[in-house]
Symmetry: C2
Subunit: 365 residues, 2 copies
């Protein structure tokens, strides 16, 4: 019995030692090793947008001394670009870098997350997200899909795309075969545009043959690489359907909840930093790309006020329809509109007045 | 001898055990405990700007599981607001949250870091900093003062301040006693303004007595609290001398170099996130504050084109003088101008066109 007791005691000591082993890693545990997979919705050729996910992954590794490794996959390597959120929902990957408006078929409110046509510019969108209800409303919707999200990137206002012919009147839009996706396509469809979904590789020959009249993509830095200029030289501004497209890091909610609190904090901060990286980089490279494109024959055009007005009217009709049908869309949309009503008079008085003067006097030193 | 040896052996074992203790914390070392002090240049009453340093400190603690603690001090608690960088240089504190233009007396180029009159808006400034030479140029200058810096906050375009009388012509500026600091004051002095440096608490009585004609501060959210409206109801826009004032976290270079690499990474990311917090918060609260101020009797005015033009001319003269005298200023200024020349034509074509339309049609849903 004594021996037994001693054995039991030793066994107990062994357990205590084991407990000690667990306790020592209580130190190590503060930086556990974690490996995640991230699927991006963007092709590698868009090095700024795809690069935002890579930058985010690098920031995570940098901040955790290499302990938190996130491997970034391009569309098609795990799932297609349009299935990124689904892959997070079903746990195939822990996270995705994607525009939430890819999923408006499932949840119209997610269009508000990325930014509706005629909604907010990049800075306003970021403010709405953090301080005016955006993240709470959208993450409540995403919870239905076992997801949560962080804002992670913005393109700024996008261009209106390449057109084979000038578009001068609202009538010129009728029957126009335009490669444009999402809600922008739905808005323009109300004005007679025939929105087309064509894989990037097929756009050039379609424009050349004339089976496509126009195609929009992102902004000068990305658009330049496509070479569409040779077959569609009218380059229109602004891309009013994406005045400041916000991208998100979509994270599986259970995986997020499992993370130590400070890893959640690191991820939130890395995502903000990657967000800035993307916008700041675009703001540094788009101007030069635009100048090169003009040198290469791009004819810059702006959509006429009448076309913009008709599109706004069509957009507002669409938002009325969606709000009537879907309570979550209405909630997100109303929140965005309330913020926009707050911010625009102030923006006009001051921020815009500064920009106006700087633009009007540019080149003077 | 044997005993001695055994003692030596034990001693060695003790060392080994000690080494083991060091080795175990090699795990723990990955998150060493660090305590820093941060002196802010901003009074606690400016809860968004002072709050940016607090937010940054919270982000640092959150990301390190409480291991990296930064205590934030208001001006006067350790040094005055204008001595923040000096305190970092001499090691009284490890870091400061400050506008670098406070130190233009020592280094004119630091004015470019915060933003010169008529330079860049907030988004452009951030892009210049990260992708067009800003941080390299400024941190090279700061190295002379044993400092380095991270961008950590932006006010957006500031307001032009409160005026007792309307300012309609350039002549109205002559002899105007205006509380305005830094390069903005130097620019306006060329047009006859008499810039005044008055402590915040003394501004109200000076405006009431008429020993001061005007005073500028930040934007509606902060300005509202001052109550200047009662004695100077004309509220002018835009504050062209601060189109997007960038704030910095200034860090003692030796202290920075001592940090583990991943703590440096965490600090860089926390600073970016705090930067966004400040700008997004201002963009969410300024609009509402402006509306309340108008309700309370503020008469909104914009500086006339002639006043803006004359001020731009004066500013460019000043930059010519400073460039001739100071090579670092010239380097930083030329870098900013090159970036501005790249970005503004693109901004005008697209970002500004989007903003213009949204402002013109605001309220329509």
């Amino acid at each position: 019995m004594t021996t037994m007791k001693r054995r039991n005691f030793l066994k107990g000591a062994g357990l205590a030692a084991a407990a000690g082993t667990v306790a020592a890693p209580a130190i190590a545990q503060s930086m556990p090793e974690i490996r995640w997979r991230l699927t991006s919705s963007f092709p590698k050729s868009l090095d700024t947008i795809f690069g935002t996910a890579q930058t985010f992954a690098k920031y995570m590794a940098d901040a955790t001394d290499g302990k938190f490794q996130i491997q970034v996959f391009a569309p098609g390597e795990i799932v297609g670009g349009l299935q990124a959120m689904d892959a997070v929902e079903n746990g195939s990957v822990e996270c995705a870098h994607t525009p939430l408006y890819y999923y408006i078929g499932r949840e119209p409110s997610l269009g508000v997350a990325t930014g509706l046509p005629f909604s907010l510019n990049a800075r306003q969108a970021h403010s709405w997200w953090h301080f005016a209800g955006g993240k709470e409303i959208i993450n409540e919707v995403l919870a239905k899909y076992k997801c949560t999200s962080l804002v992670c990137g913005n393109s700024g206002a996008q261009m209106g795309g390449f057109f084979r012919k000038e578009i001068n009147t609202v009538d010129d839009l009728k029957g126009l075969k335009f490669r444009i996706g999402g809600l922008g396509g739905q808005v323009l469809a109300k004005l007679g545009v025939v929105p087309q979904q064509i894989a990037p590789g097929d756009v050039y020959p379609a424009l050349e043959r004339g089976t496509l009249d126009a195609a929009e993509f992102v902004g000068p830095y990305d658009d330049e690489k496509l070479g569409f200029l040779k077959v569609a030289k009218y380059y229109y501004a602004p891309g009013f359907w994406e005045g400041g497209a916000m991208l998100h890091l979509v994270v599986n909610k259970a995986k997020w909840d499992e993370l130590p609190k400070h890893y959640q904090a690191i991820m939130s901060q890395a995502s903000e930093a990657a967000n800035n990286w993307m916008l700041a980089k675009y703001d540094a490279v788009n101007g030069q790309a635009l100048r090169r494109m003009v040198g290469a024959g791009a004819e810059l055009r702006t959509f006429s006020p009448a076309i913009m007005e008709a599109s706004l009217k069509a957009a507002n009709e669409l938002y009325g329809e969606l709000s009537a049908k879907n309570a979550d869309f209405k909630k997100a949309y109303d929140s965005m509109v309330a913020y926009r009503n707050d911010v625009l008079p102030w923006w006009q008085l001051n921020e815009y007045a500064f920009d106006t003067f700087m633009i009007r006097t540019r080149g003077r030193v």
